[in-house]
């Protein structure tokens, strides 16, 4: 039993070594030409961007490079269980140059190109070593067994550092071969080392991921906090407003019922009061609904909702919209309330007598610019409306930039990554 197990483990180990050597050989065969070709093509294509050809070829080349890297990710996971995280940004559809631009802004693409250089040097060596460790000792044993005769025919033959000229030096080569053969169990580890090296260059770095997690945690907390605060406000508004008015209305109607015969004049007066209560309750509900989700936003989308908003402002406001479709409802609502807050700020504090709003979508981002000709000096500070806008946008990975020199003008730019449908 014992010997069986031992020989079984031995043969398993031997098979592992052979498999590792084979895999390393395949990797070496593919990685050197693949990496050299990919890197050269990418270099040429990117340097041809100024003359225009590169704009068309670069996305294609970078796509192939990514496919090459993805293949390596797959074999790393399948062969050695090494997981190499991939963090490419989505590539926009459409014209080649927008794709080129988007790809070149992706740090993961540049990481691919750095990796190609490592793969054609250190990567190639670590892939080749397991195969060398297996095949080179076999050659040494063959030399000791008599292959030395034809090989040393023209004045000697070097096996490693042993100069083979006769049978005794051939045995020396054989001894070296046996010593090397003892190292072959390292072959599987060498293949793993190759993939670890690949991961260290190709994988998204821990720091990047940690930073991303930190931002997500923060924005999630903000989103939960602000939606809880919103719900509390809505509850309070309903409780003190519409709900109270409906109670009053019900009471009035009850009184009217009893007064109808006894005092018709008084009943009529109460009826008018009840009707006024219902009008007021409706007005309050309308304002509340506008604060939760403006009806025009639901009916027409962001562009017209901002136009309708502009028409309510006391300051003449020009709205320019270039949107090819509608964003998802949560993004639309976030953008709407952000614009609304910025406009309110401009009206209240800037002293402007003209405001311009521009909405457009490019490079998979919704970009909104609000410009006023007021006195400037707006900052994203604690307690300012703009800090709230920044938090609101943060939930959607959106950003806010303010340019507001003293004396004006003030320009607030907001960007939210999103797709239109």
């Amino acid at each position: 039993m014992n010997t069986n197990t031992k020989s079984g483990s031995l043969s398993t180990r031997a098979r592992d070594v052979v498999v590792a050597a084979g895999r390393g050989f395949v990797l070496a065969l593919v990685s050197l030409p693949g990496a050299v070709l990919g890197f050269t093509l990418a270099l040429v294509s990117i340097s041809l961007i100024p003359v225009g050809i590169g704009l068309v070829t670069t996305p294609w080349v970078l796509d192939r490079v990514r496919a090459f890297a993805d293949w390596r990710r797959v074999v790393a996971a399948e062969w050695c269980g090494v997981l190499i995280p991939s963090a490419y940004r989505p590539v926009p559809e459409g014209r080649p140059w927008t794709r080129t631009y988007a790809m070149l802004r992706d740090p993961a693409v540049w990481r691919d190109l750095r990796w190609l250089q490592v793969d054609m040097t250190a990567g190639y060596v670590t892939a080749l070593l397991p195969a060398v460790l297996l095949f080179y000792p076999l050659e040494g044993i063959a030399v000791a067994a008599g292959l030395w005769r034809p090989l040393s025919h023209w004045g000697g033959y070097w096996y490693g550092f042993v100069h083979v000229t006769d049978q005794s030096s051939a045995f020396g080569a054989g001894a070296l071969a046996l010593a090397l053969l003892a190292l072959t169990p390292l072959a599987p580890r060498l293949v793993t080392a190759h993939f670890r090296l690949t991961r260290s260059v190709l994988g998204a770095s821990q720091r990047e991921l940690a930073e991303r997690v930190r931002v997500l945690t923060e924005t999630r907390r903000d989103a939960v906090d602000s939606s809880a605060a919103e719900l509390r406000r809505i509850e309070r508004d309903l409780h003190d407003g519409a709900q109270a008015r409906l109670v009053a209305m019900g009471m009035d109607l009850g009184t009217i019922e009893t007064l109808l015969d006894k005092d018709p004049a008084k009943a009529k007066q109460l009826l008018a009061q009840a009707r006024q209560s219902s009008v007021d309750a409706l007005a309050e509900l309308r304002e509340l609904v506008r604060g939760i989700h403006p009806p025009v936003l639901a009916e027409r989308g962001l562009g017209d909702a901002v136009r309708a908003l502009a028409l309510r402002l006391p300051v003449p406001t020009e709205v320019n919209v270039e949107l090819g479709g509608r964003a998802e409802a949560p993004v639309e609502a976030a953008a709407y309330f952000a614009v609304s807050e910025v406009l309110t700020n401009a009206v209240k504090h800037s002293g402007a007598d003209r405001i311009w709003v521009d909405l457009h979508h490019e490079d998979e981002r919704l970009r909104v610019t609000v410009t006023d000709n007021g006195k400037g000096g707006a900052v994203i500070g604690a307690g300012s409306g703009l800090a709230g806008v920044e938090r609101r946008l943060g939930t959607f990975d959106g950003v806010l930039a303010v340019s507001s020199p003293a004396g004006g003008p003030t320009m607030v730019t907001m960007e939210i990554p999103c797709a239109l449908s």
Binding site: R275, V279, R286, E299, D304, A308, L311, R312, P314
Partner: protein, 217 residues
């Protein structure tokens, strides 16, 4: 007078039917969706359509779009649009063709049956019925930087507001409890101060005032 009514909420539709029938309107059809409305407007040729802005199946501004399309097919088709909220944006779109026979009111206005029915009749007759909220918004925007408006007396402003809603001189006189002749004097003062062309046609007068209030936006 034959009415096509489009409202998706059963309670409201039912209430409106009863209200209009009680005031001697004939309900040619009471429908609950955009496509049904379009069909009814094309086939039944009503004297006036009363339409909710938001209708199924999309629950967007389908009612408004159907009404605008029907007016493009049959210019001047009287349409009274009802909504839970009023927007200058929509009012402007309804008034854009300048042909009158347009109303735009908050749903709350049906609480006052007399005034609501009066608005339906006015629209059916080619007149205008704009919600007081729309007019107030227009006025408050214009008041900020408009010199001619600032020259109006408070009474004239009151008359202007009612006139912009689409009321006739007689109706304004009734509401402000003065003679029609006094109102006529106020209106000619208003037109002189705002430098508008005087017109005897009530409807043209209203449209001119609305255009004045909405200009420059």
């Amino acid at each position: 007078m034959r009415v096509v009514l489009a409202e998706d909420l059963f309670l409201l539709r039912d209430g409106l039917v009863r209200l209009l029938e009680a005031h001697d309107f004939e309900i040619a059809a009471a429908v609950e969706s955009g496509p049904e409305l379009t069909r009814a407007l094309a086939e039944l040729e009503p004297d006036v359509a009363v339409v909710d802005v938001r209708l199924p199946p999309t629950h967007t501004d389908e009612g408004l779009q159907c009404a605008l399309q029907a007016r493009r097919n049959r210019p001047g088709l009287p349409v009274l649009v009802l909504s839970q909220h009023v927007e200058q944006l929509y009012a402007r779109e309804l008034l854009a063709d300048g042909s009158g026979g347009v109303g735009y009111l908050l749903k709350d206005r049906v609480f006052d049956a007399e005034q609501f029915v009066d608005a339906v009749r006015r629209v059916a007759g080619g007149g205008t019925a704009m919600d007081p909220q729309v007019i107030q918004q227009l006025l408050s925007r214009r008041a900020a930087d408009d010199r001619p408006l600032a020259r109006l007396t408070p009474r004239e402003l009151e008359v202007l507001e009612l006139m912009a809603q689409g009321r006739s001189n007689a109706a304004i006189a009734g509401q402000l409890v003065v003679t029609e002749r006094a109102i006529a004097k106020h209106t000619s003062n208003i037109f002189a101060k705002l430098d508008l062309e005087v017109s005897d046609d009530d409807n043209r007068r209203v449209l001119a005032v609305l255009a004045y209030l909405d200009q420059g936006r």
